[in-house]
Symmetry: C2
Subunit: 488 residues, 2 copies
C-alpha cells in the first residue's frame, strides 16, 4: 500500500531550486519567477554556481552551501546532471524532490535507464520524487507555485493529480475563470517514483482537500489504485477523467508518456466498485468539481424543477430522464399554495413553470416550497440569477424624445432587475443551508457570471440544463456508493 | 405541400401594431419599443383608439384609418378581441399577422375554440398567421424586432423556427455572446395557422438563409415534415433539437404547449432519412450552427490533429473514435518535413504533438502541412489562437528591483504573444479558403474569445475538443446524406 505523508512535499518550509537561471528562456528562470511572484511563504534558495544572485535573490553554488534545512528540491537542469545532483540532495537529507527536467523514460530506452538510475539513488537516500518530466506542483496553503505555466489558480478545497501536465495546469487556469478553486495540484510526470495512487492516498488523508480530481492515462496494476481509491472514496469523492479510453487514444497516450492505456469493461467495473466517479469530457471534470466542492450530496435522484418558460423545463426533464433522474409529480398541497400567488395558467406540476412571470418574488417563494418538499432530493432552478439582457443595438437610435426617455427607462429597469438577482441568489444560498439539498442554478451566460454566482453567493450554476443534470447524475452515483457501504 | 412565400411576413414594408400601448407594463408597449429601438426600416403604424401618439409616434384609432398599404399586423390585445380584429385586417387586405396574444389553445378547450375562430376568419381573408401565443419574429434585412424580449441578435446567415418562444429567443441572445449570427427567427407559438414546416419550407428557398435551426416539441404527421425536409436538406443543412424525447419530457411538453410529443425509433430514422441533423443538447444546437454557418463541409471523417501538449491530443483522439471519426497515421513524407523544424522528441505522428513548443511559427508550418495532406478531411487545431494567460496574482508582489523588472518583462512577452495570435488566426483563415477543409480551433477561454476568433478572423473555435468533435461528427453525417443523394 502506497500510504505516504506528503505534507512536506506540498507545504515545504524551504525550497532549493537547482537549475535556477538568470536566462529568461530557461525553465529554471520561469519557475523561479513563478515561485517568487506567487509569494511563496517559506525560504527559497536558488542554486547556481555561476551567479551571485538571480532576480535580486542570493544564489548558492550548490545544495551543500545552503545554511539551513531544506524540505524540497526543485530540479530543472539537463537530464544527465540529475543523478549526481540527487547524491548531493541525499547528503543534505532533503526528503522531497520535484524533477521538472525531461528527456527521461518518455524519450526511449536510454532515457529510461537514466530515470532508473535517478530513482535508485533517490531511494538509497530516502528521497521521494515527483516526476521526472513533471510540470510541477501547486499548494494554496504555502502559496507554492513551483510549476511551469504562470497562471495562478483560485484557492479552494479541490486537489488534483494529473498524468498530463498540460491537461492539469489548463484545468487550474480554466477553473480560475469558472470559479473552481484548488488546494493542491501535482503534475505526476513519468512517475519514476511517486505515482498518482500515492497522491490519491495522500489527498484522501489531507484535511484541506474535500474533493479529488484526477486525469489518468496509464494505470499499472502494481499501483493498487482500486483498493486505495475504495478507502478514500468513502471519505471524499474522487472524480477521474481517463485519457486513452479508445484504441487510437491509447496509442496516442503511449506515444507521449510511454504509459500503457486502454479501458476495458473490467476496468470500468473496477472504477465503479472503488467508488471512483468517471467523467467522459474535460468540461464534465470541472463541472463535477464545482458542484462536489460546494454543494451537499443529494440523498437520492428525485429532482424538482422550476422554470420561467416551458421549453427549458421540457429540455431539463428530457435530460433528467436520459440520465436516470426522476421528476416526481407535484402534490395537490403544494399546487394549492402556489395557486395563491402564480398566474392562472401556470403548469400546476413539476416542472413548476412560472409562464413568463418575470418578477422575482414568486420565483423565490415557489423555490422555497419546492426545496422543502419531502419527495425531492435536489432542485434545478432555471433562469434564477439571470443577468440583465444586453439592451444594446448595432446603431444609435434616433427618434422623438418620448422614445429616448422610454429606452432609458427600460435600461434602468434592467439594471434594477440585475440588483434583485443578488437578493435572489442570497435567498437560494440560505435555502441550500436550510434544506441540506443541492439547488443548482442554470442561466445562460458567460463564465464570469457563474464565477460570481459561486464566489459572491455560494451558489453553483451552469449555463445549460444538460450540464446541471450531468453533475446531479454523478452526485447521485456517489450517494449510491456511500449507501452501498452502509448496507455491506 | 406547405410551400409558401413568406417574404412579406419577414421583410414587410409596413407594419400595423394593434394593441400598441403607452403603458410600460404591457407587451404592446415593449414590442413597439423593441421595433423602434431596432431601427425597423419600414413604416410603422401604432393602433390605439385612446392615444394620440405613443413614444412620439402618431397613433391610428383602427386599421382602417391607416393611409397606406400594410404588409404585416402584430397583435397583442387580449384574446377575446382578436376575432373582430382579424375581420378589420381582412377588410384592409393585410396578408400576414403575428399574434403574440396568449390564452388560446394552450389554456384548454375554451381557448382552443377561440383559436379555431381566429384561424377560420384569417383563412377567409387569406391572412396567414404566426401564433397565437408567439413570442414574435425577427429579420435582419429589415431590422425587424417584433418580439417580446429586448435582446438584439447578431446578424448572420442562420434562420431558426422554434416551438418554444423562450428557448428560441434565448438561443438568439446566447448566439450574440458566442458570435453566432441570425438572419430570420420565428417563435411559432400554438401554430394555429402557419407551422414549423411552413417556416422550414420558406427558409429552404430563402437566399439569405444558409443554415436552418429548429427547436421542435410536437410534430403532427399532417405537417409533412419529412418530405419537406428532404427537399430542403439537399440544399442546406437543417439542425433540429427535439424537446420531449422522453416520456416525462413529452408529458411536460404537453402541459405547456398542448402538443403531442415523444420520440420513437421510427421518428429518429425518419429524421435521418430526411437529412435532418438531430442534436441532443442546447449547446450542441448553437455549436453546430456556428460551424455549419462558417465552415466548408468536410469530404469525409478523417481528422488531422495538432496539439501543443500530449494529453489534449489523447482526449481529442478518444472523442474522435467515440464519435465515428478516424485519425489516419501520418505518412513518412510529412514526418520528415516536420522533423526539419520541430524539436527532437515531437510525436512523429497524428496527432502532431509539438511538445510544448510555444513559439507560433512551427505551429502554423505544421498546420499547413497537415491541412494540405490528402488523407484528411478536417483539422482540429488545439491551442491555436490561444490568449495570453492571466499573469495576475492575488497579492501585489514586493521584492527586489530585478524581480519587478522580470515580472514586467514576462507580462510584455505575453502581450506580444497575444498579438501573434492575430497573425496565427489570419493564417488559419487563409488555409481554410486555400484547402477547402474545415480547420476547427480549440482553445480554453470565455465566449468573448470565440466570438472574436469568428468575427475578426472567420475561424470557428470551441473551448473544448469534445465540442469540436461533436460538431465534426454532425458535419460528416451531413456529408454522408449529401453523398447518398448522388448515389441514388
Amino acid at each position: 500500500m502506497n500510504i505516504q505523508n506528503l505534507d512536506r512535499l506540498f507545504n515545504p518550509k524551504s525550497i532549493a531550486m537547482i537549475g535556477a537561471s538568470a536566462n529568461p528562456r530557461k525553465w529554471g528562470f520561469i519557475i523561479l519567477l513563478n515561485i517568487l511572484k506567487g509569494n511563496y511563504s517559506g525560504k527559497l534558495y536558488p542554486i547556481n554556481p555561476r551567479e551571485e544572485s538571480i532576480l535580486g535573490y542570493k544564489c548558492y553554488p550548490r545544495v551543500a552551501d545552503i545554511p539551513g534545512k531544506v524540505d524540497l528540491v526543485v530540479i530543472t537542469t539537463p537530464a544527465k546532471m540529475v543523478p549526481a545532483l540527487i547524491d548531493e540532495c541525499g547528503a543534505k537529507s532533503i526528503p522531497f524532490g520535484v524533477v521538472v527536467t525531461s528527456d527521461f523514460s518518455e524519450t526511449g530506452p536510454e532515457g529510461a535507464a537514466l530515470e532508473r538510475d535517478v530513482v535508485a539513488r533517490a531511494r538509497k537516500y530516502g528521497i521521494r520524487l515527483v516526476g521526472p518530466n513533471s510540470m510541477g506542483i501547486f499548494s494554496a496553503k504555502t502559496n507554492l507555485h513551483a510549476k511551469m505555466p504562470p497562471m495562478m489558480p483560485l484557492h479552494g478545497n479541490i486537489s488534483m493529480f494529473s498524468q498530463s501536465g498540460n491537461v492539469g495546469v489548463q484545468m487550474l487556469g480554466w477553473g480560475a475563470e469558472e470559479g473552481v478553486g484548488f488546494d493542491k495540484f501535482v503534475s505526476s510526470g513519468n512517475e519514476g517514483d511517486l505515482n498518482c495512487v500515492d497522491y490519491l492516498s495522500y489527498f484522501g488523508q489531507d484535511e484541506d482537500t474535500d474533493v479529488i480530481l484526477g486525469y489518468l492515462e496509464g494505470i499499472d496494476p502494481g499501483m493498487h489504485l482500486f483498493p486505495v481509491a475504495r478507502k478514500v472514496s468513502r471519505k471524499k469523492p474522487i472524480i477521474v477523467f481517463k485519457g486513452g479510453r479508445t484504441d487510437s487514444g491509447g496509442r496516442a497516450a503511449a506515444t507521449h508518456t510511454g504509459a500503457m492505456a486502454g479501458e476495458s469493461k473490467i476496468f470500468k467495473s473496477a472504477l465503479r466498485q472503488a467508488g471512483i466517479l468517471e467523467v467522459k469530457t474535460s468540461q464534465a471534470l470541472l463541472d463535477c468539481a464545482r458542484a462536489f466542492a460546494n454543494c451537499p450530496i443529494p440523498r437520492g435522484n428525485r429532482i424538482g424543477i422550476i422554470t420561467r418558460g416551458g421549453g427549458w423545463g421540457v429540455i431539463t426533464v428530457d435530460a433528467c430522464e436520459e440520465n436516470g433522474l426522476v421528476i416526481p409529480p407535484l402534490p395537490e398541497k403544494i399546487i394549492k399554495k402556489m395557486d395563491e400567488f402564480l398566474p392562472k395558467y401556470w403548469s400546476r406540476g413539476n416542472p413548476v413553470d412560472l409562464v413568463a412571470t418575470i418578477a422575482h418574488d414568486p420565483y423565490l417563494d415557489c423555490l422555497e416550497l419546492l426545496a422543502n418538499w419531502d419527495s425531492i432530493d435536489a432542485v434545478i432552478a432555471l433562469g434564477a440569477g439571470r443577468r440583465a439582457p444586453k439592451y444594446t443595438y448595432s446603431k444609435e437610435v434616433t427618434g422623438p424624445q418620448p422614445l429616448v426617455d422610454a429606452i432609458h427607462m427600460v435600461e434602468q429597469y434592467f439594471k434594477d432587475r440585475a440588483q434583485r438577482r443578488d437578493w435572489m441568489l442570497e435567498g437560494i444560498g440560505k435555502l441550500i443551508k436550510q434544506t441540506g439539498k443541492p439547488i443548482i442554478v442554470v442561466s445562460i451566460g458567460p463564465e464570469a457570471l457563474h464565477r460570481s454566482n459561486l464566489y459572491e453567493f455560494q451558489v453553483v450554476s451552469y449555463p445549460t440544463p444538460e450540464r446541471a443534470v450531468r453533475v446531479l447524475r454523478q452526485m447521485y452515483k456517489y450517494r449510491r456508493f456511500l449507501d452501498s457501504l452502509k448496507e455491506s
